[in-house]
């Protein structure tokens, strides 16, 4: 998530902005500094080594109204941490990032492969007559520990605990749970041995991608069309490091149905996997992570069934893939949604589903387009049948 912090003329920052920053816990921070405060050069530093700042040294040859600093915090060890911007000798701006670990996890929905984290229990009155493997009442997943982030695929779930371990449950047909012992599926959340200091997880349909603090990307599961990024199509039941990505400083990983996306802290977007009607960003399937051409620096990416959306640093949404049902916002296979289409606001994030797209703007409003057969767009009741 992108956040722009505006500095006032006296070098102060509004407290409400800091509060919002605290609650949003963004991944990237943009700092807007008035031109009168701009020194010739500035140095940015943080006490925590888990915070990447790019670039760390700024040189201002011509005075401009605003300066953009991309900041990547990985606040996992501490609840909140301060980042100090020192401009010249005088200016200090503490910024607090916070990430609240969750105490309880509730899940609801289909449970045919125990992907909810418990055995099938059907407390629904409607279900008692004809037993379905699902629940509509959110039930608690029992696990000794707190989850910080979670990603779910079609039939499996990967969650990250506070101490950086991966906990998995659900189906293991293609080995997407990273545990070789489990044959079909598990309903009990199980920690994965051998993975430490995990930062992010992403689940595709039948594969999993894991990003650690040490900039290593692991992948396992079904490997059709090269979605694991190892250069082969063989399935993996144990997580393996993608060697192609060892030279990159990665900010984010994402997974579509049959695709994997890797985002650099400099905004380079790499992808591998199935072509899937253009959602990969390439004209052919790729078995190794390949840079997507013709894209400006990206800070957020989300991929759905057959389309992918990404937001660049100017707040423009780039969409590519299958244009049917209007899920790209235009009939072209590659389209852009600029601030003019979002009420003159910049986009903060884009979320792609099976056949619909949501865009979250800077003033926290939601725009949606695409298929509305099941009411996915959240518009008024009269708009869908």
């Amino acid at each position: 998530m992108l956040y722009t912090l505006k500095m006032e003329a006296g070098g102060k920052v509004d407290k409400r902005q800091l509060l919002l920053l605290e609650l949003l816990s963004p991944d990237y921070l943009m700092l807007e500094v008035p031109s009168e405060l701009l020194p010739a050069s500035a140095t940015l530093a943080c006490d925590d080594p888990a915070v990447f700042i790019s670039p760390s040294t700024l040189e201002f040859k011509s005075p401009s109204a605003e300066v953009s600093v991309r900041l990547l915090a990985r606040p996992q060890s501490s609840l909140s941490l301060a980042i100090r911007f020192s401009f010249g000798q005088s200016l200090l701006v503490p910024v607090y990032f916070s990430q609240l670990p969750a105490a309880k996890l509730y899940s609801a929905g289909a449970n045919d492969n125990c992907q909810l984290g418990f055995q099938n229990t059907s407390p629904d009155i409607e279900v008692e007559s004809s037993p379905m493997k699902c629940t509509s009442i959110p039930l608690e997943v029992s696990y000794q520990g707190t989850f910080t982030t979670l990603s779910a695929g079609e039939k499996h779930v990967l969650a990250v605990t506070k101490d950086g371990q991966v906990v998995v449950w659900g189906s293991n047909e293609s080995g997407q749970l990273c545990i070789d012992e489990v044959q079909s599926s598990t309903s009990v959340p199980r920690p994965v041995a051998g993975l430490e200091r995990v930062w992010q997880v992403a689940c595709g349909q039948t594969h999993s991608v894991i990003l650690t603090y040490e900039n290593k990307v692991y992948s396992c599961g079904c490997g059709q069309k090269g979605r694991l990024g190892h250069g082969s199509e063989e399935p993996l039941r144990q997580p393996m490091v993608i060697k192609e990505l060892l030279g990159y400083r990665l900010a984010k990983v994402a997974a579509g149905y049959c695709t994997s996306f890797f985002l650099d802290i400099e905004g380079k977007l790499l992808s591998c996997g199935n072509y899937s009607l253009g959602a990969l960003g390439h004209s052919h399937s790729q078995s190794l992570p390949t840079l997507i051409p013709d894209l400006p620096p990206i800070h957020q990416v989300s991929s759905g069934k057959a389309h992918t959306g990404c937001v660049d640093f100017d707040g423009t949404v780039h969409l590519f893939g299958d244009p049917s049902d209007g899920r790209l916002g235009s009939p072209n296979p590659r389209s852009e949604v600029t601030a003019a289409g979002l009420g003159n606001e910049r986009a903060r994030a884009v979320y792609c589903g099976g056949a619909h797209t949501h865009i979250l703007t800077e003033s926290l409003e939601v725009y949606s387009f695409g298929c509305n057969k099941k009411g996915q767009l959240g518009l008024t009741r009269s708009d869908f049948q």
């Binding site: 509730y106 899940s107 609801a108 959110p138 979670l150 069934k305 767009l377």
Partner: protein, 222 residues
């Protein structure tokens, strides 16, 4: 298209499944909409009317605890909440729970208070009306009251005459009694029958009006 329902709700994170969506707001509430054939919205119903939910719907049974993370599988939803966490004494958590979650509760309380005020006003009007009805029975107002509310007409009318001015006329509706008077020789009392027609304001005595009509108009004679 803009989702107007979520305007002003401060959505800070979203998650999208195959055909359903979750939105997480800054105050820790979760809204869900889209397909619900497997109960993936978590709205505690699988009824046929809720197979597809077109408007964002608040997950009410999770509203007591602030949610911090929401994720979607293809047909599943996962919502992480914080409550009674060991780190709950941190500044952020306190601010989160106190200012934001309770802000929404405050809105509800204000609505309840406004409703009670309206209810009280309605009761007040009702009471006022009842009192007015009660007080209406003897009406002494200048305005004309409805005919039905007037007291019934008397069964007979009396007219007192001086014996000197007495003109006897033959009329079947009158009965004439002669009483001895202590002042003069005797007085005449004429008893009229009750009036046959009653109109607004004035009682017309049919016999009198009939005699007036029979009497020749002096203006015509001139």
């Amino acid at each position: 298209m803009k989702v107007d329902y979520l305007t002003g709700k401060a959505v800070c994170h979203m998650s999208v499944g195959a055909d359903h969506s979750l939105a997480l707001t800054l105050n820790g509430l979760v809204y869900a909409w889209g397909a619900n054939q497997k109960g993936q919205l978590g709205i505690c119903t699988l009824g046929p009317n809720f197979m597809r939910v077109g408007l964002p719907r608040l997950l009410e049974n999770l509203a007591s605890e602030p949610a911090v993370y929401a994720a979607c599988g293809f047909r599943t939803s996962y919502i992480a909440v914080v409550s009674r966490h060991p780190e709950s004494d941190t500044k952020v958590f306190k601010r989160w729970t106190k200012s934001l979650v309770h802000a929404d509760r405050g809105v509800q309380e204000r609505a309840n208070y406004r409703y009670s005020l309206a209810r009280r006003q309605i009761n007040k009007e009702k009471l006022k009306k009842e009192v007015r009805e009660e007080r209406r029975c003897p009406v002494f107002s200048a305005r004309a009251s409805p005919v039905s509310r007037r007291s019934p007409p008397p069964s007979s009318y009396y007219a007192f005459w001086d014996s000197a001015a007495f003109i006897e006329k033959q009329d079947p509706t009158r009965r004439v009694h002669l009483f001895p008077s202590h002042k003069r020789g005797h007085s005449v009392v004429t008893v009229f029958a009750p009036p046959s027609t009653v109109s607004e304001g004035i009682h017309h005595f049919p016999t009198l009006s009939r005699t007036a009509a029979l009497r020749p108009n002096p203006m015509l004679l001139l």
